[in-house]
């Protein structure tokens, strides 16, 4: 087997999976606290355009990523205020966030269409980057990809090994009980939602700064929704989210290679694959209703009335 032949394919899978890892991991934490934020797509787009604009203005990749996270958090804050502060419907508000994000990013990005960016710098790590096979595959990437490698571990450690993570899971399992014991349910959910916003923003930054290295209107192309599906697919477990993201990364790049292998399928049908795969995966996972019910945070999507 000639590794060099497969290297580009494998690298493309990683780049396709990385934004999904960020967005889905953020949404996982949000949902674990009992909040369903359907606005991932909108937060991603806002993050993508803000990150790109920040880089264009400051020429600093770090500031670009920070700006994207801040933008994601700001949009998440609007969502959180409506849902947690004013008790608006989570489904409706999430949809509103997506629609708003699409419009806002298009407006903010109109002057940036056509500007090209060199892409985030690739970081060579000492020793490991020189390893045969693994070096070029795993250690010739930009900082965001490395971050996406460690993010599932960090989230898993936080949720299952720390007291704060235990409290967050408890709030998602029963907000009434958590409130009765004296935990600040609303504040915890604010934080979890903001984390989700930051990660979605970062996913957007990866799209505009690394994946495409330019801003295109509506460039997330449904990845925010796929990230939402991934969380269900992973039954709310961090490592399975990572696995799912790479599975989807693999499907996404199929379209790029189909022609190379001489498969004469119109490109549109190849582009449909990730969306169809999302449906198939959702069907497979949700067939077993009791499995979803056991794993899903019990309070997900339910409004919390502290006085009750």
């Amino acid at each position: 087997m000639n590794f060099d032949l497969y290297l580009p394919t494998l690298l493309t899978i990683i780049t396709a999976a990385t934004p999904l890892v960020f967005a889905a991991m953020g949404e996982l934490v949000t949902e674990k606290s009992g909040v369903l934020n359907l606005g991932v797509e909108g937060m991603m787009l806002t993050g993508a355009v803000t990150g790109f604009a920040a880089v264009v203005v400051t020429d600093s990749a770090i500031l670009g990523c920070l700006a994207a996270m801040a933008a994601g958090m700001l949009t998440a804050l609007i969502f959180a205020f409506l849902v947690l502060g004013l008790q608006a419907s989570q489904v409706a508000t999430g949809l509103a966030l997506t629609l708003f994000g699409i419009g806002l990013s298009a407006l903010l990005g109109q002057d940036m269409v056509g500007i090209a960016y060199a892409g985030l710098p690739k970081l060579q790590l000492p020793i490991v980057s020189d390893l045969p096979v693994l070096g070029p595959l795993l250690f010739h990437h930009d900082a965001l990809v490395y971050l996406s490698f460690v993010l599932p571990a960090a989230v898993a450690w936080f949720l299952y090994r720390t007291r704060a993570g235990l409290i967050l899971r408890a709030v998602g399992d029963s907000h009434d009980a958590a409130h009765a014991i004296g935990y600040p349910v609303i504040a915890i959910r604010y934080m979890a939602t903001l984390f989700g916003g930051a990660m979605s923003g970062l996913a957007g930054a990866y799209l505009s700064l690394s994946y495409s290295t330019m801003w295109v209107e509506n460039m997330s192309a449904g990845r925010g929704w796929i990230a939402l599906a991934l969380v269900v697919f992973a039954t709310w477990r961090p490592w399975r989210v990572m696995f799912g993201a790479y599975l989807f990364g693999g499907i996404t790049i199929l379209q790029l290679y189909a022609q190379a292998f001489g498969i004469a399928v119109p490109s549109q049908f190849m582009t449909m694959l990730p969306y169809l795969a999302t449906i198939v995966v959702l069907v497979v996972i949700s067939r077993d209703e009791s499995r979803i019910r056991q794993n899903a945070p019990a309070c997900i999507g339910k409004p919390f009335h502290p006085s009750a």
Partner: protein
């Protein structure tokens, strides 16, 4: 009035606590005090203000005015963690437990500094053995019985070595034998110097357990007394402000007519692991008879009610027979046509819809049987007239058929729901927890209505965890435990202790021993 004991200051003293909600004064200048080592009852009807007062003591709610003294010192309790720091612990009526987490995780969540999990597990095992409260720290809560869940709460409290333990209606979910065990534990704790605030509306319990009782009515203290000097009847009179005429069971008529409701070997798998499987349930209910099914909550009562109502269907038609028509495989509308009415346990979201009007809530089950629909169209005038009839006949306090269900008090809404079914003149009625969370006046009215319905020839099945209620109105009684039904016994010759054993599944133990 705060009592001023000569020897020692009370552990906790409340002065003139007042708390109001929009349209309701929940606590009105409430005073009371509890001394060290005392088991003190807080007695009152649903809605008398007990829960509000306790939430204020535990820091979940804050009083509008009034003061709290702890060991004589004025304190502000602004959160449950402040309360815990003072030495107050609380066992909730609706347990504050997390189904998907383990016992040890649940306990850790209730403590301010639980330390590491392994040492916490060791301490849990220690406390649970020394107080006879058996519990495995690694089990998930959803796999535990209600009694075991209560043990988690109690152990969680005891681990903090509190000075004051608050227990909110702790016995409503226990069998008579479990209640005895709990009382023994509480007496032991009190003897060691712990104060216990015991909230209940069950008079006999308070008379046997408590040293002192503060009685609330409509948010005010109406008495502060030694309960052992009272009879249950006189306590009830203070609690309710009036004497109530209790209903009595319908006369048992010998009739040769076939039973109106027959259940043959009903088994149903639960939908998920949080539910209970029903196993081989068989019984009959005859004309003019009330059959009671006792049991601790969470033993299959909801599943049984749903199966009888047709919300979940059986494989075989003859599993359920109504007036000699096999209908186990048919849904609620078909069964209602046959004359089976049902009343689920949950009022909001199941038996009624909070933000719909009473007329629409009446239409919910009566739309076909009372001819309120023609060519798929709603006959609004008939619908409104029917709901007005229910409101009048059952003395529901409501603005009219256009008021929403959520505007009614619990007792009034339950009267409306029961009335809605009874006015449809069903031949068979299945009712789950008919008087749960309902004030005594409404409870008596509902029980009376069920008795009258049976006297008029209907077959009535009452599923309830209130054993007193079942002993009062039923002709025959059985107990459900872990989805199995015990033998059916005549109430006249059966003791509370016998039923208690059946509720705990004692007959199954014996069956197993014999097998």
């Amino acid at each position: 009035m705060i009592k001023q004991p000569d020897a020692k200051t009370p552990l906790l003293a409340l002065g003139a606590i007042t708390k109001s909600y929009p349209g309701c004064l929940a606590n009105d200048h409430v005073d009371f005090a509890i001394s060290r080592g005392e088991i003190h009852a807080l007695l009152g009807e649903n809605g008398a203000g007990k829960s509000t007062l306790v939430k204020i003591i535990y820091g979940i709610l804050r009083a509008d005015s009034g003061n709290i003294r702890w060991c004589g010192e004025p304190v502000t309790i602004d959160s449950p963690s402040t309360a815990r720091r003072l030495g107050i612990a609380m066992v909730f009526q609706h347990f504050s437990l997390f189904e998907s987490l383990t016992v040890v995780e649940n306990i850790a969540l209730g403590m301010d500094s639980p330390g590491n999990m392994e040492s916490l597990k060791a301490r849990i095992r220690e406390v649970s053995t020394s107080y006879g409260l058996l519990l495995d720290p690694d089990r998930h809560v959803h796999s535990l019985s209600v009694g075991e869940r209560q043990r988690i709460e109690i152990i969680r409290c005891l681990l903090q070595q509190p000075k004051l333990l608050i227990m909110d209606e702790p016995t409503s979910v226990l069998t008579p034998q479990e209640i005895e065990q709990l009382f023994a534990t509480l007496r032991r704790l009190a003897a060691q110097g712990m104060s216990i605030l015991y909230i209940s509306h069950k008079l006999d319990e308070i008379r046997t357990l408590c040293h002192q009782a503060t009685i609330l009515r409509n948010g005010r203290v109406v008495a502060d007394t030694d309960p052992t000097t009272h009879t249950a009847r006189s306590l009830a009179a203070i609690m309710m402000g009036e004497e109530l005429e209790l209903p009595s069971r319908p006369p048992l008529t010998q009739s040769d007519s076939p039973p109106r409701l027959v259940v043959n070997d009903l088994s149903l798998r639960a939908l998920d692991e949080f539910g209970v499987d029903l196993k081989n349930i068989s019984f009959t209910v005859g004309r003019g008879e009330i059959l009671g099914i006792a049991g601790v909550a969470g033993n299959g009562q909801i599943e049984l009610t749903n199966a009888l109502a047709g919300e979940r269907r059986c494989q075989q038609a003859d599993t359920i027979v109504i007036d000699q028509v096999a209908c186990g495989h048919r849904g609620p509308e078909f069964r209602r046509e046959l004359g089976l009415g049902s009343i689920p346990e949950e009022r909001f979201g199941h038996g009624a819809i909070a933000d719909l009007s009473l007329a629409e809530n009446a239409y919910l089950t009566a739309h076909h049987r009372m001819g309120l629909t023609r060519y798929g169209l709603i006959r609004r005038r008939l619908r409104n007239a029917f709901s007005n009839r229910v409101i009048d006949q059952f003395r529901v306090k409501a603005g009219g058929h256009q008021s929403t269900a959520s505007s009614l008090s619990g007792g009034n809404l339950q009267k409306f729901i029961v009335g809605r079914e009874i006015c449809q003149r069903h031949g068979v009625l299945v009712v789950c927890q008919p008087t749960w969370g309902v004030d005594a006046g409404a409870a008596t009215a509902i029980q009376q209505a069920l008795v009258e319905m049976a006297e008029a020839g209907a077959a009535v099945l009452v599923i309830s965890q209130d054993l007193d209620e079942l002993m009062l109105i039923c002709n025959r009684i059985a107990a459900i435990c872990a989805g199995r039904l015990s033998d059916v016994l005549p109430v006249a010759t059966t003791s509370v202790e016998q039923i208690g054993l059946l509720m705990a599944g004692a007959d199954m133990e014996m069956d197993r021993a014999e097998a």
